[in-house]
Amino acid sequence: MGRATALPSSFGGCVSDITSHQIQSQSERAAALASFKLADSLFAWLTRLAALCVLALLGAIIISLIIGAWPAIKTYGFDFLTTQRWAPNAKPVPILGGLGPLYGTLVSSIIALLIAVPVGLGIAIFLTELCPQVLRRSVGIAIELLAGIPSIIYGMWGFFVLGPILADTIEPAIADFVEDIPILGTIFAGPASNLSLFNASLVLAIMILPFITAISRDVFNTVPTVLKEAAYGLGCTTWEVVRRVVIPYTRVGVIGAIMLALGRALGETMAVTFVIGNSFRISSSVFAPGTTISAAIASEFAEARDLHQSALILLGLLLFVLTFFVLSGARLMLRHLARQQGV
């Protein structure tokens, strides 16, 4: 009761306080509101400007790439996409085709994904579902540290350590093993080279592994415990819980992780340039040297002139388009999945 009676009186005191300063405070209030409004609109414009900056930058990059690539586009047209020869010294005009680097970019990224996705998801599942609490943190941190290693370090490791091991022992063994199997025999044909598409793919796989693992682990952690417990309660095995509950629940996030990893693999430059061998010829064997778009640009741009330089810029434009399609493809896929789940 005491509280109930006290309330109006204090309230009344407050009101009288306000009335005594009403005229002054009203104008103050208006001024404060105006300044809020100003700050608000200023803030809104600043953020809008920041967002527009990104768009302008993107547009500027595309435009400058197109301007730079124009001489090559004019000279080679669509043949650029189907020509394998890369002869900057051909007379009278250089014969330049982007098929080799395009092929190398796609194949190295795909092999890297083929290796990194199962392993990365495996680590994430282990960390969230099976790992003892003590290990969980340390393994998780180790994975995150992997993502922080500069790419040149991976490149040097691939060059000095992985390359010789692959070429001297692993690649010849694989080549011998699959020699008589029709398709595999061609894909994994010798002679083994220290620097090869396969070496680059392995290095890429290790580089993108932490992305897939870290993001998948985070999304796996978002699965409500009650769902999993319900499934275990019905007698599901761990595999069934992962397969039927965790993965379907987190599909969108996992695909996002894979696409992010693919984006990184497509554009990775330094590590790949170190280990891929920089050869524009397409070989049916992944043990042969190859090149990627970014590796080609990194190793040739400084010395390139005229059409040669323009063709390298065109390669850059192609990588831009390729990455754009990969990302928008992922978006479309996610939207499609979301719709399916909604139904």
Partner: protein
């Protein structure tokens, strides 16, 4: 295409600024081939005069581009420009020092200078026609060596390069097949091999890859303790890469009658000549915009001709003969620094 030079100019300006702010430094950019020597000269010159040289070893082609963009006082290139090209851009060209390119191999049990190759065989290896180390053509040149039946891992440059220009120029002269299928240039369409960036990249790759072959400037072979090969020269004699054989090749050059000092020293006659010898060149503007910088650069080159020979020999480069450096000094009259 006007935007690329602008981008490049901006980039180089930023890079050059870091040097320019410190002192009245001479700026140059270009070939990686003479870089070990230029940096040694620059060190000694700085101690003696207090003036520094800021040389960016970014490759011959890039050096030519830099001087054309006027972002450096001098450009350096292993591939000389022809007279027409010099006239078009208002450039003056002169040779600074000579050096040699050697094939290097990584073969177990083979010591430096033991393996003998000739131009034809070297071309066939780089054409992918000779695939194994125990190929008949290699065996014929090396009857006493036991060579493995392994594949030859070919290493070549991935970037454009004056070293490549001189190497492929030699192969073009030595092998009609190479001339027809590939030709000579700073960057060519390589039939086989893995590409490595720079002389150091090739040296590193050959050192790392078993059963490989590559080509580098002699100083890089020596510094990295690589197994260089002997070569059969135009006269049919087997020669080792030594300063004497490089000098023998260089002695043939007729600098006095070469407009713009355009001279390529590969496949020279003479019994003692090393077949892949090359000069490296300096490019400067005949009418420079920064006259003081240009004067300073010429002072440095004059000093290098005068006092740099011992250092050049130490690093296995071949100094220009006195007659040639006098010719070069005379040619500087065409650079208008006043």
């Amino acid at each position: 295409m006007t935007f690329m030079p602008t981008v490049r100019a901006a980039l180089v300006a930023t890079l050059a600024l870091t040097g320019a702010v410190q002192a009245a430094e001479i700026t140059g950019a270009g070939a990686t081939f003479p870089f070990p020597l230029y940096s040694k000269w620059a060190d000694a010159y700085k101690k003696e005069t207090g003036n520094g040289l800021n040389y960016q070893s970014i490759g011959s082609g890039a050096g030519i581009k830099q001087i054309q963009a006027k972002t450096v006082t001098f450009g350096a290139s292993d591939m000389p420009l022809k007279e027409e090209a010099l006239k078009k851009d208002g450039l003056v060209q002169f040779p600074m020092v000579m050096g040699a390119i050697v094939p290097v191999v990584n073969l177990e049990g083979v010591k430096p200078g033991e393996l003998v190759l000739d131009g034809e065989t070297l071309a066939n290896i780089y054409l992918g026609k000779v695939k194994k180390w125990n190929d008949a053509s290699i065996k014929k040149l090396n009857p006493s060596l036991t060579l493995p039946s392994t594949n030859i891992a070919v290493v070549r440059r991935s970037d454009g390069s004056g070293t490549t220009f001189n190497f492929t120029d030699y192969l073009t002269k030595a092998s009609p097949a190479w001339a027809k299928e590939v030709g000579a240039d700073t960057a060519v369409e390589w039939p086989v091999g893995v590409g490595a960036k720079g002389n150091d990249g090739v040296a590193g790759n050959v050192g790392q890859t078993k059963n490989s072959i590559g080509y580098v400037e002699y100083a890089y072979a020596k510094q990295n303790k690589l197994t260089y090969t002997a070569l059969v020269n135009k006269a049919g004699k087997t020669v080792q890469p030594t300063v004497a054989s490089f000098q023998a090749a260089a002695a043939n050059a007729d600098w006095a009658n070469a407009p713009g000092f355009y001279q390529i020293l590969t496949d020279q006659p003479g019994e003692a000549s090393w077949p892949i010898t090359a000069a490296t060149f300096i490019l400067m503007y005949a009418a420079p915009t920064d006259k003081t910088a240009s004067t300073e650069a010429l002072k440095f080159f004059d000093w290098a001709f005068e006092k740099g020979d011992a250092m050049a020999v130490e690093l296995d480069y071949i100094p220009m003969p006195a007659t040639v450096s006098d010719l070069v000094r005379k040619s500087w009259a065409s650079i208008k620094n006043k």
